[in-house]
């Protein structure tokens, strides 16, 4: 089995997280508490212990086992907080696992951000050397690849300009260019394609498939399902710190999609809450015309989003925002109550906020919803990717004909046509 280049057995990572944060209501209380805790901390230091708040254990990753063969491109997907970053950090040796064992055979290059080690005060030329050395290249190697790196990034004219004067696009391009020329046998990449303009993203994807075709192994973490489907030969789905599915990409991607429920309801539970505890999001329902909860809606249909809240105090001057994203993580629409002209407020208790959307113009597909509540201009509650909206093809134009999905697009627009002479 010398063909297995990455072998992971039972890797787990435990974090200690502080207990429920105490809330201080007056300066006097907080000052007194601060002094009290300082004394306690000092005492525990002298007793030879690290001052630990009442903590609980949290396994960011547990029992992760998998093998990757030479030349394979493994996609790692999962919702935020599912343990993807933790896994990458362990495999790239940024931090140690709490348990388990992993063996990587070959030179490892990890790319957890674009422009690793760049210093804004240094010039492009200097940063190529610095970042290259930090990522594990020898100086002679960088000398050899220098021109190729500068050309790939397209910054030849600005090599002697400090990087702080670069546009963000140039910065990202140079960062990726250095990493792309690392030539590792095992490449670990996190989400880097989320940056840069479309043309550059295409270039990066090209470079990555080139890397994989030359027999090297790639571990690729992404939210971008299109990129995962295009690049990867196999995928892993992480949820709640465990590998919930692994196998061919289409199977795992569809498992990821069905992992997000249409609407979201945790039977009386709380989906998200505000930092100060004053507001909880309890459910998200998608309602059809007849106000019944529906798992799937058709495009062109009137529908309502019902958001359930539990308010611990009366909140005035609220604005509720809903972001609708497609599966490539592109925001398709952004709804916001105050801007649309609907001032909202919530009394104490269980409350519902309903947003009516007439004639849904989204094309068939699965969408994720981000929900945000803004009070007095500040974000009070933020729940990204909290619910899914499943849309199937429907008679948007009321003509009895269905739109042609192969024609693509993201939105349907009402349209009027005419043909006339001169």
């Amino acid at each position: 089995m010398s063909d297995v280049v990455v072998s992971v057995e039972g890797i787990g990572k435990r974090y200690r997280i502080g207990g429920p944060r105490a809330k201080y209501f007056s300066l006097r209380d907080s000052v007194a508490a601060a002094f009290g805790s300082t004394a306690r901390r000092l005492a525990s230091v002298f007793k030879g212990r690290l001052p630990t708040a009442s903590h609980e254990d949290f396994w960011a990753l547990k029992d992760a086992s998998f093998d990757v063969r030479r030349g394979e491109v493994l996609g790692i997907i999962g919702r935020n907080g599912a343990g993807k970053s933790t896994l990458l950090k362990i495999l790239s040796r940024v931090t140690e696992p709490t348990e388990g064992r992993a063996v990587l055979r070959g030179r490892v290059g990890s790319l957890l951000e674009v422009g690793t080690g760049f210093h804004p005060e240094l010039t492009g030329r200097e940063n190529i050397y610095l970042s290259g050395a930090i990522l594990g290249m020898k100086k002679t190697e960088i000398d050899l690849k220098f021109d190729a790196i500068a050309a790939f990034a397209g910054v030849e004219k600005f090599l002697d300009t400090p990087c702080k004067r670069y546009s963000s696009g140039m910065y990202v391009r140079l960062g990726f260019a250095v990493a792309a020329h690392l030539d590792p046998e095992i490449l670990i990449i996190d989400e880097v394609l989320a940056v840069g303009d479309a043309a550059f993203q295409k270039k990066c994807l090209g470079k990555m498939s080139e890397v994989s075709h030359s027999g090297r192994t790639v571990l690729f973490v992404s939210h971008n399902m299109a990129a995962v489907e295009k690049l990867c030969s196999r995928a892993l789905l992480l949820s709640h710190g465990r590998i919930s599915k692994s196998g061919p990409v289409p199977d795992v991607v569809s498992a990821y999609l069905s992992d997000i429920p249409s609407g979201a309801d945790h039977s009386g539970g709380v989906l998200a809450n505000s930092e100060d505890g004053s507001l909880e999001l309890t459910h998200v329902h998608i309602l059809a015309n007849d106000k019944s909860v529906t798992p799937v809606v058709q495009c062109g249909q009137d529908l309502s989003l019902e958001l359930g809240f539990r308010a611990r105090k009366t909140l005035h001057d609220l604005s509720v925002a809903v972001g609708i994203n497609n599966l490539h993580d592109v925001r398709i629409a952004a709804l916001r109550s105050d801007i649309a002209g609907f001032p909202l407020g919530l009394e104490v208790g269980n409350r519902r906020v309903v947003c009516r959307l007439p004639a849904l113009p989204l094309v068939a597909g699965a969408y994720t919803l981000d929900i945000k509540v803004i009070a007095k201009g500040e974000a009070l509650l933020w729940a990204p990717r909290i619910a899914q909206l499943a849309v199937e093809n429907g008679d948007f134009y009321g003509t009895g004909r269905l739109p042609d999905p192969s024609w693509g697009g993201t939105l349907h627009l009402h349209q009027e046509w005419e043909a006339s002479g001169e």
Partner: protein, 282 residues
């Protein structure tokens, strides 16, 4: 394309001892050079005076010391003009101070880098120590100028100077590694270091000759004074420069070296322990 021999990385909790981490640091020695080079490059960016700051600081301190200790307090320095005497002490001291100060805070300053890429973490405090050498080199030129100006002849002892410079660097690294690792868990050490350095300056024979302080302490307590590695460094450095009548006690220098070796060894062990999961705490 040249095929490198198959490299195997094993990841598991608590893996790799101190020796392994030192060997690995050696393999990354080119990166050490690049990190030190970056520190040097960035240090005087967007300053008008640039590297002149490396000279101004010890020079200004020397002038103040001369006013206070030589003019006001009539401190005798065994025939060596006080400005030269003080500057010769301030040189290794400034080297030690900046190497220690920089290496102590190095991990906290590099948080974003440490959380994104792996390399032997020891390189971070180590590169801070190395980069302090540049300022020292510049100030050394000024010292040479001062010695010519005051007509102080150097002696054959000059050849031993690198040894004492090395000892100063090792002292800074030994303490710096401790502080760097401790400050990951206890941010208090950010405040401890500048404060400790200020006290340390007065307890070390920078502004005064060693004998002046030794004569104030009972002979059987002399070893406490020698525990401070900077005593050996400063006495040795001046002895190398001037071959002053009182040669440093070989015992005092040996004691310094021993203290440094023990502190460094323990510091490296502690650093290695913190290194494994420091990113989770940064």
């Amino acid at each position: 394309m040249k095929r490198t021999r198959p490299l195997e990385t094993v990841i598991s909790p608590g893996r790799g001892g101190l020796l392994g981490s030192i060997i690995e640091s050696w393999r990354y020695r080119e990166l050490l050079y690049f990190l030190a080079w970056r520190d040097v490059k960035v240090r005087y960016k967007q300053t008008v005076m640039g590297a002149a700051w490396a000279i101004i600081q010890p020079l200004a301190t020397m002038v103040i010391f001369t006013l206070i200790f030589s003019r006001m307090m009539k401190l005798s320095t065994e025939g060596i003009p006080y400005p030269v005497f003080a500057f010769a002490g301030l040189l290794p001291w400034t080297l030690f101070q900046s190497a220690l100060g920089q290496s102590s805070s190095s991990l906290l300053r590099q948080t974003s880098l440490l959380s994104k890429v792996y390399f032997p973490r020891l390189l971070v405090p180590l590169s801070s120590v190395v980069s302090a050498l540049l300022d020292f080199g510049l100030a050394l030129l000024v010292l040479a100028g001062l010695m010519v100006w005051y007509g102080v002849k150097p002696s054959w002892g000059l050849t031993t100077l690198p040894l004492f410079v090395l000892l100063a660097l090792a002292s800074a690294l030994a303490v710096g590694v401790w502080f760097a690792a401790l400050s990951v868990k206890y941010r208090d050490f950010r405040y401890v270091v500048p404060f400790a350095l200020r006290l340390w300056l007065f307890l070390s024979p920078v502004a005064y000759p060693s004998e002046k302080l030794i004569s104030q302490i009972p002979p059987n307590c002399r070893w406490i004074y020698d525990l401070n590695p900077m005593t050996g460094v400063l006495d040795g450095f001046r002895w190398g420069l001037f071959s002053a009548s009182s040669s440093p006690m070989p015992g005092s220098v040996l004691m310094s070296a021993l203290v440094v070796a023990v502190t460094l060894a323990c510091g490296l062990l502690y650093f290695r322990r913190v290194e494994r999961t420091m990113v989770d705490l940064l």
